[in-house]
Amino acid sequence: MLPELGLVSLALALMLALALSVLPLLGAQRNLGPWMATARPLSYALLAVVSVSYALLTWAFLQHDFSVAYVAQNSNSLLPRAYQVTAVWSAHEGSLLLWLWFLVLWTALVARFSKALPMPVVARVLAVMGMIALGFLAFTLFTSNPFERLLPAVSEGRDMNPLLQDPGMIFHPPLLYTGYVGFAVAFAFAVAALIDGKVDAQWVRWSRPWTNVAWAFLTLGIALGSFWAYYELGWGGWWFWDPVENASFMPWLVGAALLHSQAVTEKRGSFRGWTLLLAIAAFSLSLLGTFLVRSGVLTSVHAFASDPERGMFILAFLVAVIGGSLLLYALRAPKMETGKPFAAASRETFLLANNLLLTAAAAMILLGTLYPLLAEALDLGKISVGPPYFGLLFILLMAPLVALVPFGPLTRWQREDLSQPLRWLAPWAVLAGVVAVITFFAWPHGTAKTAFGLLGAAWVAAGTARFAWQRLKSTSQGQRFTAEMVGMLLAHAGIAVFVAGVFITESTSIEKDVAAKPGQHFELRGHDFHFEGVEKRQGPNYLADHGTVVVRRDGREIATLHPEKRAYAAGGQVMTEAALDGGLTRDLYVALGEPLDANGTWALRLYVKPWIRLIWLGSLLMALGGFVVVFDRRFRRPVAAGVPA
């Protein structure tokens, strides 16, 4: 009975979303106050019914209701309780419901925190959010009903995908979806502005905090996904240019471009067309990502169940949303770039370069991700585009960006005054060069790649510090740093840390597969791995082959690692638990392979990964920067403060 109630509340949500997409919009067009006033209550009601539906699906999991097909496919009576809750989003139907729930949550938040906005704007923005919710609700109800019954019920479920039974999985998809869906807000503001026909700096100011938060969540989501793949999947890598990863990375890149473009539009009035287009693109790519993952058009190591009919439906939805908004853009975008003219070496130019490079990188990834499809359509045969393509092109596009980062904050709006920033930055460029040279000769096992990476990292770090120092020196206390500047500094510092991490770990990591007899030693980058053997050990709900590897450095014991192979009693699956001794300067990583003979010889895989933690530390700094910007006082100023000159 309860699952039917879940379905009914989804149907009710469909009605509410329909009302939300029509009534406030008509009200705004015809200036009918009461119609516009329905926007907020409808948004809250939508959140309420979708929440009920989500809660009922969770309840079905907690109750082991295997008469619900989705529960039977993705749960099991022996599944631990915490995973019963996260199993809700471990496959297609539930992920979609979670996506939808975040969408209506953001809609309700926009409704709640938009008191300062004129009513027609609120009405239009919420109506556009309602339309998106309508599309997702129709998709859920007509192709992916999570409450479908399986009659007669089975006595036992098929269990949750074992790979996803991990704490990292609890937060990875929700963070990612929060980011994706957050771009819907920037999108809705852009479309509302286009419908209104008034594209001024004001709408950008309203949408900026939302974009920043969405981007920061997306950053966290991607970073957590990368970390999860690293320590749980035991592949030793942190990024694989897999279609699903690319799907989340494209909106991230365009979102990063959007952040900067919005700042220009808000402060200078320039780049309006760009900002609108990027706002549309960031959300469109989020939708496209969903399409790529869900339609089965591309195969991927992440492939969940995929289905062409669903593919057709999302494609139609994609065409309506993206095609519609781009058509609106073609018809209504400002006739000309109305911003103030700017000189060749002004801050505008640098931010434009930032936009172009980030967008080009996203386009390059899109092309690479879709290339197999394109090749197949044109009968070019089977060509797959692998990490070498992405890695090379991405570095080629990002190297100029890294080189330009320090200039952005130090150049001036509108005016050409490159000599000053060049004078400020010259000593730091020299310093970065010295760092690179020292790295090349002195870094343990360093290569030209290590030196190149540290050149970039030192340059960004020094340039960013130079800007901070200048504010400290030249500006009176109290107004030295706005939240927006602090956010920028943190995010740019994050880039430096990230770049350093990537290049060091990519150029100096080492791995070794060995057949290890108990008592045997292996030397790897100055670390002595001593294999003591494997014993059977009973865990709380599994039986493990419990290995012991003691690592010494310079004769001193620095870590004892216990890689395991666990056979879970519940569900029965075997999981490899790699053992990891993490540290800022290096990760030591041991994975247990298979027993090779009866004398206790095991296949072992050993890794030493210097400074790999910097990759995620840098990402965290970037995300933190995104969050901090939101606290800028400017965004809380009421509308009456007007548009800045």
């Binding site: 036992e156 098929r158 269990d159 995908n161 074992p162 035991g234 067309g273 287009l277 549309i280 693109a281 469109s284 399409f291 339609s295 089965g296 058009v297 591309l298 195969t299 190591v301 492939a303 969940f304 169940a305 995929s306 289905d307 062409p308 009919e309 593919g311 057709m312 494609l315 994609l318 065409v319 993206i322 095609g323 781009l326 058509l327 853009y329 073609a330 018809l331 975008a333 879709l370 499809l373 394109l374 197949e376 359509a377 192979k565 056979a567 879970y568 569900g571 029965g572 699956q573 075997v574 999981m575 490899t576 392979g593 298979e594 090779l596």
Partner: protein, 177 residues
């Protein structure tokens, strides 16, 4: 105006491409659970034979004769349910059945086969499930039909029942013969 239409035009091209991609996928046998791999060559793999860790079998070794690749594990209750059906099928001699032991301890797998019978002409072991990623294997049981040229012709997710054999597998087999 033309300049402003460019993003729309670019998207239109993209949409056509994606539409083609979806059509290509859905044009295939819709009675099976659609898999992007159906109609494509089986992924390259090289895996040890269960119980003989030194002996590796690759996808090329299996060319020349159609075979049914049955993904199972001793830990998987549903595999036990379908086991009689698989056994029946192997006994009928219509197709060679290869077992794919997925994420399993070798001893457990061998004990399981002793207990329930071993219908497989060959069992390969994917201990850490890495090769399974290439096959798009989501869990056990799953079953693939691969033709003599090494192309995947049919795939089924979940336990095989006699109905599935009658309605899907046998017709698929006939197209091979």
């Amino acid at each position: 105006m033309i300049k402003r239409l460019l993003p729309l035009l670019a998207f239109a091209l993209l949409a056509v491409l994606l539409g083609l991609g979806v059509l290509r996928n859905s044009g295939k046998d819709t009675s099976a659970i659609p898999s992007p791999l159906v109609g494509k060559p089986a992924p390259a793999f090289s895996l040890p034979v269960l119980g003989e860790p030194g002996r590796l079998v690759s996808n090329e070794d299996l060319l020349g004769e159609p075979y049914l690749l049955n993904v199972w594990g001793s830990w998987c209750p549903a595999c036990r349910d379908e086991h009689p059906v698989i056994t029946e099928l192997a006994k009928s001699g219509r197709i060679k059945v290869v077992g794919y032991d997925y994420k399993d301890e070798p001893e457990d797998a061998q004990r399981w086969l002793q207990q329930f019978g071993n219908p497989y002409s060959l069992v390969i072991a994917d201990y850490d499930g890495r090769a399974a990623l290439d096959w798009g294997i989501y869990g056990a049981p799953e079953t693939f039909l691969v033709d003599a040229q090494g192309v995947i012709r049919w795939k089924f997710v979940g336990p095989i029942t006699p109905e599935v054999v009658q309605q899907q597998l046998l017709p698929a087999l006939e197209t091979l013969e």
